[in-house]
Symmetry: C2
Subunit: 337 residues, 2 copies
């Protein structure tokens, strides 16, 4: 039977959330007061000297790597790995600095390793980051033949002034959507089951995740304070839009083009499920005041990203309303994170 939801495909995002919540509860509370509160919890921000902090994130590419193995194309998976980490760093206003990878496999394959590292270095170059280290673990017995896993760790620097807290967001601020390059690295447990192996669109699933570092770092430098909130549309799909400030409402009315492969999946998956699993053509959002809208859009366009005003912040809950994609507006009461 074809799965119709992410849960049916074997991924329980709520159980994962409960685990994350437990983790926060268990960890030493007092020490965590040292961290600077950053918008959306996309990265942890640890002060190291007066006005300066480092932002830290970790992520993997999920089952996109199984698709890479199937299609015998692994030289861009490293870009996805870097992208998943670095786009999170950007959401707190950090400038990407360093990256480390953890690569574990049953038996080291030099061609595969070379391909993976080539992608990681390409991703780091696109992000202005240095690949400064990594761990290569050969774990016979743990990974099945030919299988492997990858995790990435990114560090950026952020000054107190550049930190995005989400606190300055207010009703009337605009939401600028930036185009994704495709499915990016989320929802693959579902996508792999819905797009048949012989379907011509299957290989487009491997298009590397867009890295938004260049334009976002330019905005941070050239228009300090202009980015009042930012959202990486990652696991949880569009519910991520609400993360920068949970006390506000968000409405999306205009839409970037939806990739063909998502249109195809929409034929069997409910629209609401699609929007809480995939990026639906919008990989990143910037929230800014009306005065900065044109500059933000122009900066993304200068880096060859399609960007436009997709919606607005408002003061009424529920948190997120999506208009114009189904007969009734879609309402999400809260974000998944």
């Amino acid at each position: 039977m074809e799965p119709k939801t992410y849960a049916e495909a074997g991924v329980d995002i709520h159980k994962a959330d409960a685990f994350v919540a437990r983790l926060k509860h268990s960890a030493r509370r007092d020490g965590h007061k040292r961290l600077w509160p950053a918008a959306g919890g996309y990265a942890s921000v640890y002060p190291v000297a007066g006005n300066l902090a480092v932002a830290l994130t970790t992520d993997g590419v999920g089952t996109k790597l199984l698709l890479g193995l199937e299609q015998k194309k692994l030289d861009t998976i490293g870009i996805d790995l870097v992208a998943m980490c670095v786009n999170d760093l950007l959401c707190v206003g950090a400038t990407p600095a360093t990256f480390l990878d953890y690569y574990a496999t049953g038996k080291l394959d030099e061609q595969l390793s070379d391909d993976l590292v080539a992608g990681i270095i390409e991703g780091c170059d696109q992000s202005g980051m240095l690949l400064v280290g990594g761990e290569t673990a050969e774990l016979p017995d743990l990974y099945q033949h030919g299988h492997f896993d990858l995790a990435g760790f990114a560090m950026g620097t952020v000054s107190r002034e550049a930190l995005i807290t989400g606190e300055n967001l207010k009703p009337g601020d605009k939401i600028i959507g930036v185009a994704s390059s495709g499915v990016h690295s989320n929802g693959f447990s579902l996508a792999r089951k819905l797009i048949a192996q012989d379907h011509p669109l299957r290989q487009t699933l491997l298009t590397p995740t867009a890295i938004y570092a260049q334009p976002v770092v330019r905005l941070l430098n050239e228009y300090p304070g202009a980015i009042k909130g930012a959202a990486h549309i990652t696991g949880g799909g569009w519910t991520n839009i609400t993360r920068p400030n949970k006390s506000l409402g968000y409405v999306i009315e205009n839409h970037l083009p939806v990739p063909e492969v998502m249109k195809l999946m929409s034929e069997t998956v409910a629209t609401e499920e699609m929007y809480k699993t995939f990026n639906m053509g919008m990989g990143f959002c910037i929230m800014t005041d009306a005065a900065h809208v044109d500059k933000v859009i122009a900066t993304f366009q200068a880096s060859q990203f399609n960007a436009m005003v997709v919606g607005e912040i408002f003061d009424k809950k529920p948190a997120l309303k999506i208009r114009g994609v189904s007969q009734k507006e879609i309402v999400f009461a809260t974000s998944a994170k």
Copy 2:
């Protein structure tokens, strides 16, 4: 057939080294000049402001976690994960600050997750680090039922003065060995095959890796400059001793007690192979001048670690001579890293 070497157990440390070397070669050379050179390459040291840098490491626990699954004891594996990262940070003179974990599994199991996190938090507490984040990935199809993998990422801070470069080491300096708590987290692909499942010593393999943060941070604070070199005895066994400064020689003549489980494995594995795979009772080394020997030993003893002078730096190659463990002295020409 019982494996007699680490390679026969399925781990090719030389192939892994070649991969790491290729990675260094491929990465952007110019950018890497920004990094501060630190002794032994145990951590990457990235300057963030004037006199201050952050040190970064990543590691996993290898197949020790398969033993944890077999023995249904996973609440200390997190300590191993933290230890493997934090003991590396200490080798460059960094004070541990933050930790993130990556935990991937086929299907999230709440009890197992709780156990793992409990260990990670315990390890962070022992290290004076904050657990500031992590990624929990549910990857059906990638991990076999009940299997999972763990990676850790540690960050510490280090001033230019505290940085251990290994450059101050000179002939006549003393090597202080600090006791391990057991096998720590290296060599498990071999150990799991050599110690029978019903052997009473098998469960001692799970003893958590010792964390040397408390005494080492005390030494860094109370006796600045006293630590001229440090070595975490991790993958590659005692060849790690040579990492702080490759232009010098190292001789070990006195020996901390060798754990019973290693004596047992020595019955089937050649002595040389044992010393380049396991810690043989010594989990960490500090290299210091004669004037600081008593203070270093007393500081470790105050933290309940057995420590003593085990050898000395000399100016002649080959790099490492081990005396008193077999009829002829064992000579290693170079370190594995």
